[in-house]
Amino acid sequence: MTDLRELYQQVVLDHNRSPRNFRSIPHATRTAEGTNPLCGDQIMLYVVLEGDLIRDVAFTGSGCAISQASASLMTAAVKGKRKEEAEALFRAFHAMVTGGPESEPDTSALGKLAALAGVRQFPARVKCANLAWHTLHEALHGSDHPVTTE
């Protein structure tokens, strides 16, 4: 029961109910689509990249509370960050959620992203938490992709 409360804590439920940066960016320089074919979670990620600065980032899509809250928390965390800083956050986040039920994750660098630490108790849900981050990784490593204003 405490595991469930940790997984679905208020921050997660709040970001699920009212996701931040939930919109498309018509002038995005990078976009990427992430899907979880097994469960149907789907996310479209929009990034405005200036040099290696993430000037703006937003997402649309649908999925479970964990995937939605993770995308919302991620966009809030990486906006205004450099590419490398975002990648470092992904590494720390990934280590936190994949550490396994017995781990005592170091969340000092993660800020609000630590709200998803409970995912480590639920191996079946790790992919939900990671979907947005994998999609961001793809967007940042793709080529410049100006969206037409058509």
Binding site: M1, D3, L4, R5, L7, Y8, L13, R17, L38, C39, G40, D41, Q42, S62, G63, C64, A65, I66, Q68, F122, A124, R125, C128
Partner: protein, 405 residues
């Protein structure tokens, strides 16, 4: 007459736990649990009778052959097929359908021909036909369904024409529970000379099946969904139709004579059983069929109807819960969604209570698209489930509401 407590004692897994709670197994449409009679049949075969079949002159091989062919006869009686040669052992319903789709594509389908499927097919009775159509230039036509999950029989009638080569339809929908009017569908197809393939994977564990009475020309079932082992299934086909199809796979067992110039094929069913089959699996399936028959269909139907009614009543009484799939004729499958709560979150929270359900699109993405849903939660029952387990499910769903406030 049976009582469910006695039946449950035959299924070792059901007395186990999950997440520290008594296991409540409600994912029977994905796979069913196995009674010890099936488990023991597998052990007995490997312990006492293991040998390859149909070739040894020695006694052990003859015993293995007898056991394997005995299982075929049991399945023949189970489906009321006219002849045991009409029973082809395959890996499962998926392979059964692929067998027909592949061999029809190689021999019968031409550009402009049409194959009819329904809007509620499992991917296994959809994708093989898409592939067959792609290979041959044939066209896939789809019988639409209502919001409740019932096929539009009038629209189906309008789809039938002189280009139609086959109708492929599920007997019972895995994601909605709908029992389709297969007898009517077959009669209408036969009036214009079109054969019908029925995907019976979800029907075999719940309904008395009589392929001759239904008018099914092909009928596909999976052993593991009907209390038998994984990796074994059956394609029933009317002998005349199976005879007319070319072989599916080449290899040992399926030949009459082989030279480099010319190979002739074995008669049914060996023609479609290339290679050493899943002998133990077939014997296990035979044991599963025996098990179902000893329970009696009257008891199974009555008990599952009671579970379905109880689950429907209990879940619809919970605010924010909506059932998906409300056909008049339904098997014991209850798909549902909850306001503002995704199916996966429902699944995780129920899992903490030891309740196993399926969440997602259930390999029926077109059904989800048709209903405008990303996913549903699905509880699917078998004859060993109880009213108490339905109540546990309802309490779990209340718990989901609490967690999500």
């Amino acid at each position: 007459m049976r009582d469910v407590a006695t039946v449950r004692r035959d299924f070792p897994v059901l007395s186990g736990t999950a997440n520290g709670k008594p296991l409540v197994y409600l994912d029977n449409a994905a796979t069913s649990q196995k009674p010890r009679q099936v488990i023991e049949a597998l052990t007995r075969f490997y312990t006492d009778e293991n040998a390859n079949i149909h070739r040894g002159v020695y006694e052990l091989s003859q015993r293995a052959t007898l056991a394997y062919e005995g299982a075929r006869a049991k399945v023949q009686r189970f489906l009321n097929a006219a002849d045991p040669h009409e029973i082809v052992f395959v890996r499962g319903a998926t392979e059964a359908i692929n067998l027909v789709a592949t061999t029809m594509a190689r021999s019968r389908l031409r550009p402009g021909d049409e194959v009819i499927v329904s809007a509620m097919e499992h991917h296994s009775n959809l994708v093989p036909w898409q592939i067959a159509c792609e290979l041959t230039g044939a066209r896939l036509r789809v019988i639409p369904m209502s919001d409740a999950g019932e096929l539009d029989v009038e629209a189906y009638e309008a789809l039938l024409n002189d280009r139609t080569r086959l109708v492929a339809v599920a007997h019972v929908s895995n994601s909605l529970g709908t029992i389709n009017p297969v007898r009517t569908i077959a009669r209408m197809a036969h009036e214009v000379g079109v054969p019908v393939l029925v995907d019976g994977a979800q029907a075999a564990p719940h309904l008395l099946i009589d392929v001759q009475d239904l008018g099914a020309d092909f009928y596909a079932i999976s052993g593991h969904k009907m209390f038998g082992p994984t990796g074994i299934g059956v394609l029933y086909g009317r002998a005349e139709l199976l005879d007319a199809l070319p072989p599916y796979q080449g290899g040992g067992e399926m030949i009459r004579s082989v030279t480099f110039e010319k190979t002739t094929y074995a008669p049914l069913p060996a023609k479609f059983e290339a290679g050493t089959p899943h002998i133990a699996g077939a014997i296990g399936l035979g044991a599963a069929v025996d098990y179902i028959r000893h329970l009696s269909w009257e008891w199974i139907a009555q008990h599952e109807h009671d579970l379905l009614e109880h689950a429907t009543r209990t879940l619809t009484a919970i605010p924010g819960v909506r059932l998906v799939g409300t056909a008049r004729a339904k098997a014991a499958v209850v798909s549902f969604v909850m306001d503002g709560i995704h199916a996966h979150d429902i699944g995780t929270i129920l899992d903490q209570e030891g309740i196993a359900i399926r969440t997602g699109h259930h390999c029926t993405q077109p059904v989800m698209d048709r209903l405008g849903l990303p996913a549903t939660a699905r509880a699917s029952f078998a004859f060993y489930n109880t009213r108490d387990e339905v109540d546990a499910l309802a309490r779990g769903v209340e718990r989901v509401r609490e967690v999500f406030g």
